[in-house]
Amino acid sequence: MTPLLLETRDLRRVYDVRRGQGAFAPPDQLVAVDGVSLTVRAGETLGLVGESGCGKSTTAKLVLGLIRPSSGQVLFEGEPLTSLRNEIWRRQRRRMQMVYQDPLGALDPRIDAGRQVREPLDILRQGAPSERQDRALALFEAVGLPRACFDKLPQELSGGQRQRVVLARALIMDPSLLVCDEPISALDVSIQAQVINLLMDLQDRLGLGYLFISHDLRVVRQIAHRVAVMYLGRIVETGAPDDLFRAPAHPYTQALVSAIPNLQARLSKRIVLQGDPPSPIDAPAGCAFHPRCPFASELCRHERPALTGKSNGGSVACHHPDRHLSALV
């Protein structure tokens, strides 16, 4: 097995919020991420799946040290991610980079693409200026951008090209881990396929580890080696993509898989979850999914299920993992 790049142990992040109006409203706690433990190995992609507000992006920021966990720990390349903004942190941060959803928002509109890719080297004064330029040009080639794009402003590039520029810039510090937060959601279908193939090629070539966050299960199945499903700040199921999507154990994963629109679902009945995900400010007691779960029992309303191993190597947090929603329709 390849070495462990990233390990998080029981990560938890709580925000203090005021729900009422006025300065004297009682404070509330929003638990964005609650007890998330995950690992990413070199050359491996962990797909993190869930709906908006489930804590995917907060997890990404915790992993990168952009925000500090309320409790729990992040280990990167075997050593704890320091919360001090010191030399160790700067060294660690160079080895982990982020790719965001909206490439136009992630790029400076007034600096040409090539200089943005080179800029990290300029800031750190790594190598001679000509070497930096050569390295930026080499990365342009690696992500499949024509030389002509080097001197263009982001607005002069297409959506797919911009996302390639963002990728080139993320790669210039020679990272071992890329955290990709919905990296293709803003792109057109035919361009999405180009970027997915590119991400997979780069991984093969450079042995990168990816934490790949997406709401699109098809894309996750294509790119991920392992998948973790999040609901309201907690991981509810993990497993290999084919096991997880073919035989999901958690009712929420079952509903997610069933919700994917396709030609077959035209005629067959689908499992439609009722209601919206609850607010993380007043998360339900017991299993957070129980208000939307048709199998919820008394136990589910009071006791939160722990993530326990399945026979196929995955794990699930459910009191009734043997029940299947499709039996109901």
């Binding site: 999405q192 396929a193 997610l256 919700a259 979850l273």
Partner: protein, 350 residues
């Protein structure tokens, strides 16, 4: 908002040379072209578009950004004040292109209703949901006061909003995206239209909420018998909602077929490429097929077939003239010189 009105920018009616509109169609669009003012003259974003929609039919329109799939409908409904709209869109014997604003207002919502991608920005943020639905009912059905309120509540129940009576008093920001999209659908239903145009109705929503809205649209279509046009870039949503599918690329129609045929025996290389670019949930994982390059800009379209520069199968003939539709099967055609029935252009085995 300031809108730039260039000279001669008002919708032009130019239907004199057209043949009689299809009498069976609910809506008949013929030779519709839409141009926007650009820095070097008019930029044509929709080119000679033709379409017939039968009463009660469900049509899906697929395309990527800039394909003209949304702008068509904004043009038909007279919602593009700065654009030049030419051609004809005929509904129940009335020509909509060039119709006065006052007359068009009675068509919008009442005969053709439209829902958009982002429901929260489509609703008025400073009015309660109930007031907005009641306004629609007053306009379209002449209801007012308690009658309108009761009817508004009935519409909210119709789109399965729980606690409808209380939700009437809610503001859009107090509801989730899925709930707001239900409110938008209720608003659209309030006019009892013959045709509902749903422009990317589920794109801004989460996966499980998307499934709820898709099921709701299916149900409403089944119950009311209204015609539905679903515009989406998501082939899955189209697969579920549409009976007939139209594929658009760079402001042109490239293929049309019954939904099963589009997914099983698409004839146009663009449609085939689009299908092959989507990862699948079952079967062997293969490398995704990609369509090289990107969509051309409307101001700088290639001569001949607009897809030719990205098409792996283009021949010199493709650069010379735009292909006309080739019939591949009953109700199935593709605008491609190379299209033949049963021919798979992209190799999906790799």
């Amino acid at each position: 908002m300031l809108t730039f009105y260039p000279k001669n920018s008002f919708p032009v009616r130019n239907a004199s040379h057209l043949p009689e509109a299809n009498q069976l169609a609910l809506l008949s669009v013929e030779n519709l072209s839409i141009s926007f003012p650009g820095s070097h003259g008019w930029v044509r974003v929709l080119d000679n578009f033709n379409l017939d929609i039968a009463p009660g039919e469900s049509l899906g329109i697929v395309g990527e950004s800039g394909s003209g799939k949304s702008v068509t409908w904004l043009g038909v409904l007279g919602l593009l004040p700065s654009a030049r709209v030419e051609g004809s869109a005929c509904m129940s014997g009335t020509e909509l292109i060039g119709l006065s604003e006052r007359k068009l207002a009675s068509w919008r919502g009442k005969r053709i209703a439209m829902i958009f991608q982002d429901p929260t920005s489509s609703l008025n943020p400073v009015h309660r949901i109930g007031v907005q639905i009641a306004e629609s009912l007053r306009l379209h059905q002449g209801l007012s006061g308690a009658a309108a309120r009761t009817e508004a509540r009935r519409f909210l129940e119709r789109v399965h909003i729980p606690d409808a009576a209380q939700k009437l008093n809610a503001y859009p920001h107090e509801l989730s995206g899925g709930m707001n999209q239900r409110v938008m659908i209720a608003l659209a239903l309030a006019g009892n239209p013959d045709l509902l145009v749903a422009d990317e109705p589920t794109t801004a929503l989460d996966v499980t909420i998307q499934a709820q809205i898709v099921e709701l649209l299916k149900e409403i279509r089944r119950d009311t018998g209204m015609a539905l046009v679903t515009i989406s870039h998501d082939l899955g949503v189209i697969a579920e909602l549409a009976d007939r599918v139209l594929v658009m690329y760079a402001g042109r129609r490239v293929e049309e077929a019954p939904v099963e045929r589009i997914f099983k025996s698409a004839g146009h290389p663009y449609t085939q490429g689009l299908l092959a670019a989507v990862p699948q949930m079952t079967g062997v994982r293969r490398r995704l097929v990609t369509i090289p390059g990107q969509t051309p800009e409307a101001s700088n379209l290639p001569p001949g077939c607009v897809f030719a520069p990205r098409c792996p199968f283009s021949t010199p003939a493709c650069d010379l003239s735009a292909p006309s539709p080739v019939s591949l099967h009953r109700d199935h055609w593709a605008a491609c010189w190379e299209a033949e029935a049963g021919r798979q252009l992209f190799d999906l085995t790799v």
